[in-house]
């Protein structure tokens, strides 16, 4: 069995047999406790500062940001955005309960998963990370992964209260919801490639544009 051979070779190198029970218990304890390492001070700000830093970092990574007072402002903001980008007024909306109550009557909106030809999708972010302007997008019945990837225009709703300082804070929130989802994407800016002559071009395989709608008010 390769498994036994590989483990035996590692143990030979480490000059020991399988770990004793107490050593194993210690390592299991470390995993259960999952201690943090140094977390950069950059994102450790009061809420308003965190949201401002998040917005600034999204823009630094070639995303765009609009701050909205309330969730009800989302359809209008989406329509305006698509218009300014010369995109058709069509949209796939992720089947998330927070987005379900919105009135998209001015747009050709469909709830569900994007197909290859859909140009725009509206998704809901589980958390935002101020440190680098990163969105945390876990998969699940209400959040299809393809909506983060296939459309040219990714529009993401994030509630200001869900913008945290660090990746660690975001994973703490995620751990509270139960087991690790099948897929957790940390997205920082729109898709890009520098493979052609080290020159940055946006829109490699994923979205060419990332537009983040920050909802400042309580939802």
């Amino acid at each position: 069995m390769p498994r036994q051979a590989m483990l035996a070779a590692i143990r030979r190198g480490l000059k020991r047999g399988p770990l004793a029970a107490d050593a194993q218990a210690m390592l299991l304890g470390r995993m259960a406790h999952h201690p943090r390492h140094t977390v950069p001070g950059r994102g450790q700000l009061p809420p308003a500062g965190r949201v401002a830093l998040f917005a600034q970092m999204v823009e630094r990574e070639f995303g765009t940001v609009a701050r909205l007072p309330a969730l009800a402002d989302v359809p209008g903001a989406v329509a305006t955005y698509l218009k300014t980008q010369n995109q058709p007024p069509a949209l796939v909306v992720s089947p998330h309960p927070v987005l379900a109550g919105l009135d998209f009557s001015g747009l050709a909106a469909r709830t569900g998963s994007t197909a290859a030809h859909d140009a725009a999708a509206l998704t809901y972010a589980f958390a935002g990370i101020a440190e680098t302007g990163t969105l945390m997008l876990p998969s699940g019945p209400q959040t299809p992964t393809v909506n983060n990837l296939l459309p040219d225009n990714a529009i993401v709703v994030i509630e200001a209260a869900r913008i945290v300082a660090s990746y660690e804070d975001a994973f703490d929130l995620l751990r509270q919801t139960g087991a690790m989802p099948r897929n957790v994407m940390l997205v920082t800016g729109p898709s890009r490639s520098a493979d052609i002559e080290q020159t940055l071009e946006l829109g490699a395989h994923g979205p060419r544009r990332l537009h983040v709608l920050i909802i400042d008010g309580a939802v």
Binding site: R12, G13, P35, P144, R182
Partner: protein, 474 residues
């Protein structure tokens, strides 16, 4: 890829004379260093994080057996399968078996150096499965039948006209008179071509930057999003990876991610950092129905407990090659190995033997830049030195070099004789070279003077000057 490390000297000479390559190197090299430094300067905690990153990997390797078993149990618990593979052949067979069981005709691939290491693509093709590389750089190299020349910028040795001519030659279904007026047009064409493939593929193969024992997750880092499409759209996702990638927890991974992108591309964070854990769950609208991990050893377990154990910390960021004067002069292909640059010079002899790759640890000036930028502080020059020692012990070094070193050692062990001999040599050379100040040719040093002049010594030896000064000072 086919090993040609034995031909490093000839390869390097060819690379130095390759105008296109030199243009690409000249463009890329200053950017790499500048971008990394700017990212480091923006994060005051960077040096602390480097120490922590090193400690995390050291801890993981010191308990590698335990964390691998814990990781494998977590993968199985999430509904995935782990295939333990001692050799490259085991890994190729494991991937093929999964592909055949899935009835796969087309396989999409995210960027993976381990699949390059095990030469997966030609093997799959020979067995009727068509692999398609989806990373933009890897895609054009597949069209051109070339190996990558860099571990994260695989096609950086190409210039824009190479891209255009290759696309025209290969995408024959598109109008021949189309114009590529900008780089964007090249990108858009590849995006369109690969979209079709993503949607048609039966199996998606990715690598992994990290494996997490706590959760059984594999983590990939990309900027294009191709890795995510590769692992989300097909019915089967296969992760081809190696044993040293395992770390204990999510938090350990996050600390490593903070040094990875900054060291690699100078980004604070890559665009897509994705944690995958098992197959599609009940109610999930997408994701693969099967999740497999092909876990490769290929000599790595043999590094544990040796002087090369430090190399297992490597997170494949490419900072060492980006800052290496040798890599910067000859590029990646000259190394003739899957992994080029300083990290490749240490790893390759382990993978293919020092007989095959002896030139690589010698292709270094020991300037130490690689070690100074390594995010996990691998003492690369020292490890290259270990390989040189092993090469010498095994009598693999050329006779002339061994003879020269023998003469030098004989003198160095006899200080009086050594000082006398160097004094004669220094004065002699100084006298003969007094007109030109250098030598175009010297006996026994043809290898040196063929490529450059040998400067004539000015005055006396160090020892003689030192003694004279002490005398003056009384």
């Amino acid at each position: 890829m086919v090993q040609s490390s034995r031909a490093f000297v000839e390869n390097a000479a060819g690379a130095l004379g390759d105008a296109g390559l030199q243009r690409a190197l000249g463009r890329a090299k200053p950017q790499f260093a500048k971008k990394r430094q700017a990212a480091v300067d923006r994060l005051p905690e960077f040096e602390t994080l480097r120490d922590e990153a090193k400690a995390i990997k050291d801890h993981a390797i010191a308990h590698l057996d335990f964390y691998l078993e814990t990781y494998a149990a977590a993968v199985e618990a999430s509904g995935g399968h782990v295939h333990w593979c001692s050799t490259a052949e085991d890994a190729r067979q494991a991937v093929l078996k999964i592909c055949l069981a899935a009835g796969a005709k087309t396989v999409t691939k995210g960027k993976s150096m381990v699949t390059e290491e095990i030469e997966l693509n030609p093997f799959l093709e020979a067995h009727g499965v068509t692999p398609v590389e989806t990373d933009l750089g890897e895609y054009i190299l597949q069209l051109r039948h070339e190996p990558p020349s860099h571990i994260i910028g695989p096609a950086f040795h190409l210039n824009r006209e190479d891209w255009e001519s290759t696309f025209r030659a290969c995408h024959t279904d598109l109008p021949a008179d189309r114009v590529f007026s900008e780089r964007r047009d090249i990108l858009t064409e590849a995006r369109g071509k690969l979209r079709e493939t993503f949607l048609a593929a039966d199996v998606g193969i990715t690598g992994a930057n990290f494996l997490i024992a706590e959760t059984g997750s594999s983590v990939i880092v990309t900027n294009e999003g191709n890795g995510d499409l590769t692992q989300t759209l097909p019915r089967v996702h296969v992760v081809v990876t190696s044993i040293e990638k395992v770390v204990p927890t999510v938090e350990d991974t996050l600390a490593l991610l903070r040094v990875l992108a900054r060291s690699a591309t100078g980004q604070d964070m890559s665009v897509y950092t994705t944690f995958s854990t098992g197959p599609r769950r009940a109610g999930d609208p997408d994701g693969p129905s099967e999740y497999h991990v092909v876990l490769l050893d290929n000599g790595r377990s043999g590094m544990v407990g040796t002087e090369f154990q430090d190399m297992l910390r490597c997170i494949r960021c490419s900072a060492c090659m980006n800052h290496c004067p040798v890599y910067g002069a000859v590029g990646g292909h000259a190394y003739g190995s899957t992994y080029p640059g300083p990290m490749g010079a240490v790893l390759t002899p382990m993978l293919v033997g020092i007989e095959e790759a002896g030139h690589l640890p010698n292709a270094s000036t020991f300037c130490g830049k690689c070690e100074s930028v390594c995010p996990v502080k691998i003492p690369l020059p020292n490890l290259m030195r270990h390989w040189r020692e092993r090469e010498f012990e095994r009598h693999l070094t050329p006779a002339a070099m061994r003879g020269g070193l023998g003469v030098w050692a004989f003198l160095a062990k006899r200080p009086v004789l050594y000082r006398a001999a160097t004094r004669v040599a220094a004065r002699g050379l100084s006298w003969f070279g007094r007109r030109r100040g250098n030598f175009g040719w010297l006996p026994f040093a043809g290898g040196w003077t063929r490529g450059r002049d040998f400067p004539a010594p000015e005055g006396d030896t160090f020892f003689a000057q030192y003694a004279a000064r002490r005398k003056e000072q009384g």
